[in-house]
């Protein structure tokens, strides 16, 4: 803990205690006539009307000036007009709790956004790790829904939580990758987002680059972020260049050298680096001037690195095979996983996808339903066939709701980006079947 923080904490406690020694009685009459009596130095919680909003203010009552009071909060002295106070209540805080409060304050101050976002009840909630296994293709298995849900869950514990994305992905959809980037950048404003990579190829590597920190497993392989289409055709040069620019932006956002971008996308790009023997500082070159060459621009392969290479060249923040090893690298006393929410999310999603079916082989429940809905059913009469088709159609609509943004992989798109809505077409076909049943 930095020296000035210690001083601050010491004085905060001293001040809270000293203020209580010099406490003055305070009487506040609220607009609705409610009378509140207390004294300066007390820890209070009040609801203040601020324009159109109602804001909860917690802190120490420092001064009563009749028309207004001053409440010393975690961030500043708040001047609050009595006429703006909706309700007020006393909170008891012992000296020990004061230290705990101060520690939590220090943690909470790590991000700017916590000033504006609703804060957890100080001193009541813990800080720890949330882990989300991300195992599969980007866009097929890995998508925004689970990450968003986990972040919302972590939000309940206040800012500054550690969200570990356990990535094992061969890549996938660039569009989903970019959507994940936008989401992760937003989550990073209030939490520490860590990638723990097993396999991070293409979109998997891109996803890891979107995190604050990247840790590898010893067996990890990482890189090859070239953009290509379904027939193994690389994107055209303008799109590829635009993609490199996107990747450079992502790297820069995480304080990594943008020079990793081009060699991971096109094989012609060169990358080398030097390590200062004394300071261990790494200098990168977009040519072959460095002693250590990562991409010579001649071998027809785009850059991909192992855990050892990644740690040496400064791409990874460390290597850990177990949660305990990762905890140490994260500067934690131990693997303090708050709950299994992320693991359960991933398990539920995996189970649902298994039931839904294999998108490549077009097998599984959803694809069976599509065939049934199209009339591929065994029936003794037209009436029975239509009944079965209708049942399948309604089941497909139910699947569309369950699969959400992934529905399009199963022929259940909802008109995303102006594409024809398959869900609407199914609804229309259901009407047709209902008509023909009459």
């Amino acid at each position: 803990m930095p020296c000035n923080t210690k001083i601050f904490l010491t004085f905060l406690c001293t001040c809270i205690i000293s203020l209580s020694l010099f406490a003055d009685p305070v009487t506040i009459i609220l607009k609705d006539g409610t009378l509140w009596q207390g004294e300066t130095g007390q820890h209070i919680s009040l609801i203040q009307k601020k324009g159109r909003k109602k804001v909860t203010v917690e802190g120490t009552l420092s001064r009563d000036a009749g028309t207004f009071i001053i409440v010393t909060t975690v961030l500043r002295d708040e001047l609050i007009y009595v006429r703006d106070i909706e309700s007020i209540e006393t909170q008891s805080v012992s000296s020990e709790e004061s230290v705990e409060v101060a520690e939590n304050i220090t943690a909470a101050l790590t991000t700017l956004d916590q000033v504006e976002k609703p804060k957890p009840k100080v001193g009541k909630l813990q800080k720890g790790v949330f882990l989300l296994p991300l195992d599969g293709g980007v866009g097929l298995v890995i998508r925004t829904t689970e990450i968003r849900k986990l972040a919302e869950h972590a939000d309940e514990y206040g800012p500054g939580q550690i969200i570990v994305l356990d990535i094992n992905s061969p890549g996938g959809s660039v569009l989903t990758g970019v959507q994940l980037r936008d989401l992760l950048f937003d989550i990073r404003k209030r939490h520490r987002v860590v990638a723990w990579v097993d396999r991070g190829t293409s979109g998997g590597a891109f996803l890891a680059f979107c995190c604050d920190e990247i840790y590898f497993r010893r067996s990890s392989n990482f890189g090859s972020i070239t953009m290509w289409s379904g027939n193994f055709q690389g994107a055209d040069e303008p799109e590829m260049n635009a993609w490199i620019t996107q990747l450079e932006g992502v790297l820069a956002k995480s304080s990594r050298t943008p020079l990793f971008a081009a060699p991971m996308v096109v094989f012609e790009a060169q990358l080398s680096y030097d390590i200062d023997e004394e300071t261990q500082e790494i200098t990168y070159f977009d040519n072959l001037d460095g002693e250590n060459i990562l991409s010579d621009g001649e071998s027809v392969e785009v850059l991909s690195v192992t855990a050892f290479q990644a740690e040496k060249c400064g791409l990874s923040d460390g290597t850990a095979d177990t949660e305990e090893e990762l905890a140490l690298l994260l500067d934690l006393d131990g693997w303090n996983e708050i709950d299994n929410y992320g693991r359960e999310l991933a398990e539920d999603w995996k189970a649902l996808l298994e039931r839904a079916g294999d998108t490549r082989a077009q097998t599984g429940e959803v694809f069976d339903l599509h065939r049934e809905f199209a009339g591929d059913v065994e029936a003794r009469s037209d009436g029975e066939r239509i009944m079965k088709q209708l049942k399948a159609g309604k089941a497909l609509l139910s699947w569309a709701r369950k699969l959400g943004e992934s529905g399009m992989n199963y022929g259940l798109g909802d008109g995303f980006l102006g594409q024809p809505s398959r869900v609407d077409a199914i609804k229309r076909q259901i009407k047709e079947l209902e008509h023909s049943r009459r």
């Binding site: 000035n4 001040c15 203020l19 420092s62 609407d424 077409a425």
Partner: protein
């Protein structure tokens, strides 16, 4: 001063000093905009006017005309027009084609509609101070955005021109006719820019790809030229329209400043304390967008029903479904009359003549007693002027 008061004052001062020292090293804890406070009723009264989405559908003159008198009566100290119109989420999304073409800003043939929006604010409400807070201004909206003299842009906002007007005349073979149409269409840029005292050459370069643009600094302002002899060249391509980032727009004096929040905008206008007024007006404007979009979905369903029912109108059930179709088209017309935005998105002609014709045909058929022909009222669903892009049955 009593001794214990002195001690308490010293103690408080000590706390504040230590607090100050503690946070002196913490960057970004306080922002300049923190100096601006929203109150219940004190300070400057600010009215927020949302202008989000697609021109001609979300952003239509009638919608703003409907609240014009209320705004006048409210007489706020400042109107902040919040503009957020993006054809695609960002440049990369645009390059990759990840956008819904149906949501791109439109002009159609209705060149009078956007100027009518400008008239509401820049003429009828000109006595009320106004600024535009731009979260994004892509394409068709930009000419309207620049009808405000003072615009403030968010760091990620863009100010881009549109090819939409050029597409109206670019295919005309006869040079004279083409030239005439070019002038007629692109004039819209300079008309709107006129409300914001914007340079005509600058405005035309936003809407006419053939126009080039250069500039020369004149103090803090730029003198714009429709040739390439200025001190710096902005656009030397005959195929492109202007495209500025927030930083570029600020550096070239097109925007006043780059801002992160409404509070930034207010602070730059010397406002430290404000309160929001006319929330019901803001709500009404947002409500319109929600309503027309809900009705668009209804219209899509109705149009699908009509097509489906046309197929069912055969044999014994012909009369029944013809009658049903008449009701369906009437409901559809009701929605379109109430929401011209729906008419545009459905691709119907603005006077709904095609829909009226459908009803007439159905009535003729019904008068003939239905009959036993297969198909619809006449010869199946009619062809519209534009492709029915929202056709859900496709």
């Amino acid at each position: 001063m009593k001794k214990r008061h002195a001690l308490r004052t010293l103690s408080t001062l000590f706390v504040l000093t230590m607090w100050g020292i503690s946070y002196a090293e913490s960057d970004n804890i306080y922002e300049w905009a923190d100096a601006v406070t929203e109150t219940e009723d004190r300070g400057t009264s600010v009215l927020i006017i949302p202008m989000n989405g697609q021109t001609l559908t979300d952003i239509r003159s009638e919608v703003y005309e409907a609240v014009q008198d209320d705004i006048k009566q409210l007489n706020p100290d400042l109107i902040v027009v919040e503009i957020d119109c993006k054809d695609a989420k960002d440049i990369f999304y645009q390059k990759m084609g990840w956008f819904n073409p149906k949501e791109i800003g439109r002009f159609e043939g209705m060149t009078e509609n956007l100027p009518a929006v400008a008239k509401v604010f820049r003429m009828h409400l000109k006595d009320i101070e106004q600024v535009a807070y731009v979260k994004d201004s892509m394409g068709a909206i930009t000419s309207l955005t620049l009808s405000w003299e003072r615009i403030y842009m968010e760091p990620t906002a863009r100010l881009t021109g549109t090819m939409e007007l050029a597409s109206r005349y670019s295919g005309i073979a006869d040079e004279n006719v083409r030239g005439k149409m070019r002038t007629a269409w692109t004039l819209l840029g300079s008309i709107l820019g006129g409300y914001g005292n914007r340079d005509e050459d600058l405005m035309l370069a936003f809407v006419d790809p053939e126009k080039v643009l250069s500039g020369t600094w004149n103090g803090k302002k730029v003198d714009w030229f429709k040739h390439l002899n200025g001190d710096f060249i902005i656009d030397d391509s005959p195929d492109m329209v202007l495209d500025f980032s927030a930083t570029q727009a600020e550096e070239l004096g097109i925007s006043e400043a780059t801002v992160n929040s409404l509070n930034d905008v207010l602070l730059l206008n010397d406002i430290r304390e404000y309160h929001i007024v006319g929330e019901e007006i803001t709500k009404q404007l947002n409500g319109y967008v929600k309503n027309w979009r809900t009705n668009l979905q209804k219209a899509i369903l109705l149009w699908g029903d009509y097509q489906q029912q046309t197929g069912w109108a055969a044999g014994d059930e012909r009369t029944r479904w013809l009658s049903k179709n008449k009701t369906t088209i009437k409901s559809l017309m009701g929605i379109c009359k109430k929401y011209p935005a729906v008419t545009i998105r459905m691709g119907f002609d603005s006077k709904l003549k095609n829909l009226e014709n459908i009803i007439e045909e159905i009535e003729k058929e019904l008068r003939r007693g239905g009959g036993s022909r297969g198909g619809g009222g006449s010869s199946g669903p009619p062809k519209m002027g534009n492709a029915l892009e929202e056709d859900a049955t496709k």
